[in-house]
């Protein structure tokens, strides 16, 4: 065997080394039997986030890794905590609506609807049939848009960029549609307690039909590219698996829970706004892995299209706002032309909506799952306490369990499929 140091000054240049065949074989066997455990390795601690392009929000995942395997992980949230629940205690009920926009900012209209529905139930008011159907239409459009972001961004994270543009072409059209309706592109603040900010613009129904006819093509393009794509399937199948039992225990709701095969959709279980009269299916997954979470969302987009189509057919005429001077502001032209309406306007702005003292928990099916508001009123114009139940706070709780034992690269695949929105996660 080789002994001595060939480049040291006392090394002899005329000396040749000889290695026997036996020695080579013995050495090779020794290497063969060496495994990773025999190497003197140390665990490596690594941070993913708080600012990481693939987390789509600010949170930190602290990992103890061995090679590329995550042995232990810890998830830290709160980087986007704005004190939503503290701020709203000083606001009037109407003033809370813009704050709800900033919860899940991918589908702000749904948050508006969720909050206003809870307050309306407290006040005991029944909104007009036209408003109910308009709320269904905008909520389902928002669901499609939210799922487009989630699926599109998830696919980008695992290396399929094209799909993102297919979805965003269609999403841009939907965004223009809602811009025509609300004047905003992200934070709409369109819903009011007791009604809506204003009625649909002229020709809106036809525009919706035209734009929605584009969506199936985008869905077909994306599904066609990835559904049986070898790379995609390898990245997503059996990755981040949640059993049905665990998913429920962790408080999963919405598409993430349905991907685990649990049939729970508040639109079916606790129908509001006549959802029980619409003909639509609740897509369910089987494995509860990343693949199912993506395709449950894709199927839900198709179902939302069906709901909008039916809603447009039955959209009734009539007023959009309820006739209650203690809740709705009078029409602007009346305020400018009559003393009574002007006084009404001033009084309502100063005194605000005052629900009776009591407490309520009301939830709707947001794109991400059960969005609930627990509201305590002391009878004054300010909410005594509002607790928002954001769906992805509980989904995020399970991330630790889902990534431990997996590979580093799976973090982004899992995270994308859960659709964690930091705005509602941290409030």
């Amino acid at each position: 065997m080789n002994t001595g140091r060939p480049v040291m000054s006392d090394a002899r240049t005329d000396k040749t080394l000889s290695v026997t065949d036996e020695e080579i074989i013995a050495r090779a066997q020794e290497v063969d039997e060496t495994t990773l455990e025999d190497l003197d390795t140390e665990p490596l601690y690594i941070n993913v986030g708080p600012t990481h392009p693939a987390t789509h929000g600010t949170f930190r995942i602290f990992c103890k890794i061995n090679g590329e395997t995550i042995e232990r992980a810890a998830v830290e949230v709160g980087y986007l905590h704005r004190g939503f629940e503290k701020i709203v205690e000083t606001k009037q009920y109407t003033q809370v609506i813009p704050y709800t926009d900033r919860l899940n900012y991918c589908s702000s209209l749904v948050n508006n609807v969720g909050f206003c529905k809870a307050v309306e139930r407290m006040l005991g008011v029944q909104i007009t049939p036209r408003t109910e159907i308009i709320r269904v239409i905008v909520c389902e459009i928002q669901r499609i848009m939210d799922h487009m972001i989630c699926v599109g961004a998830n696919l980008v994270d695992i290396g399929a960029l094209t799909n993102f543009w297919y979805f965003f072409n269609a999403r841009e059209q939907l965004n223009n549609l809602l811009e025509a309706l609300t004047g905003a592109r992200l934070t709409y603040t369109y819903v009011r307690v007791g009604g809506l900010a204003w009625d649909l613009p002229e020709g809106f129904e036809d525009r919706v039909k035209a734009v929605l006819s584009e969506v199936p093509k985008a869905i077909a393009d994306v599904s066609g590219l990835v559904r049986r794509n070898r790379i995609f399937v390898d990245r997503c199948r059996d990755i981040g698996v949640m059993s049905a039992e665990d998913a429920v225990s962790y408080g999963f709701t919405g598409p993430c829970l349905r991907a685990s095969g649990v049939d729970f959709d508040l639109r079916k279980k606790r129908p509001y706004y006549h959802y029980d009269e619409f003909d639509f299916d609740v897509p369910l997954g089987e494995h509860g892995d990343c693949y199912d979470r993506i395709f449950v969302r894709v199927e839900e987009m198709k179902q939302s299209l069906r709901i909008v189509e039916q809603a447009l057919k039955i959209l009734p005429g009539g007023p959009i706002n309820i006739d209650d001077k203690d809740i709705m502001l009078p029409p602007k032209e009346d305020v400018h032309n009559s003393m009574e309406a002007l006084i009404n306007h001033f009084k309502l702005i100063i005194e605000g909506i005052q629900p009776p003292a009591g407490e309520i928990y009301d939830a709707i099916e947001a794109p991400n799952g059960e969005l609930g508001f627990y509201i305590v009123s002391d009878g004054s114009q300010h909410p005594y306490r509002i607790k928002c139940r954001p769906p992805c706070f509980y989904t995020m709780n399970a991330l630790k369990k889902m990534i431990q034992g997996g590979m580093m690269a799976d973090i982004v695949a899992i995270l994308g499929g859960l659709n964690i929105i930091a705005g509602e996660l941290d409030r």
């Binding site: 602290f62 830290e76 709160g78 009591g358 928990y361 627990y374 509980y394 630790k400």
Partner: protein, 173 residues
């Protein structure tokens, strides 16, 4: 709520009174929802019973600070439960006095209670006994006081300077 659901909830209320005698302080029915007031000492037992009765989804835990409101105790904890199999919603309320904020943790019954209880601890200072990792979650670990208490000034800011060492969180199950 349908008549059938109401009946099922009332039956549950009777059942829990028999199963855990003396634990129920009362019940309220605001806006057709059933709210059961439970004594703090027995709340774990009662919540475990509801879990066995099919309330498999703990939707949320909400803390409420009743400072200045005429009420027996300053704080309240509200457990919002849902039974997926039976389509029932139920709230369980526990009164918590200011001088002793210990509450048994239910994180052994529902996994979702883990973060929900951490949030209630962070925002109000409830101390959940038996929680695997009772630490702040939305506010920084250096934050002093509890932000959602009514006596925490809304404009009061705090400087937090060091990043949190998550080593102790790694080993948590």
């Amino acid at each position: 709520m349908t008549h059938n659901e109401k009946q099922k909830l009332e039956e549950l209320l009777t059942a829990v009174e028999q199963r855990v005698p003396g634990a129920i302080e009362g019940s309220e029915r605001p806006y057709d929802d059933l709210v059961i007031l439970v004594k703090r000492a027995q709340c774990h037992e009662v919540l475990k019973f509801f879990r066995e009765q099919g309330f498999d989804l703990l939707s949320d835990i909400a803390g409420v600070d009743l400072l200045g409101v005429e009420h027996k105790d300053r704080f309240q904890l509200v457990y919002i439960l849902y039974s997926i199999a039976n389509d029932l919603r139920l709230r369980v309320k526990v009164n918590v006095p200011e001088d002793d904020m210990n509450v048994p943790s239910v994180s052994d019954i529902w996994h979702s209670a883990n973060w929900a209880e951490r949030e209630a601890y962070d925002m109000f200072g409830f101390h959940f006994e038996g929680h695997p990792n009772l630490s702040r979650i939305l506010c920084h670990s250096e934050f002093e006081g509890h932000a959602l208490r009514k006596d925490y000034p809304i404009m009061k800011g705090q400087w937090a300077t060091t990043s949190t060492d998550l080593m102790s969180h790694l080993e948590e199950e």
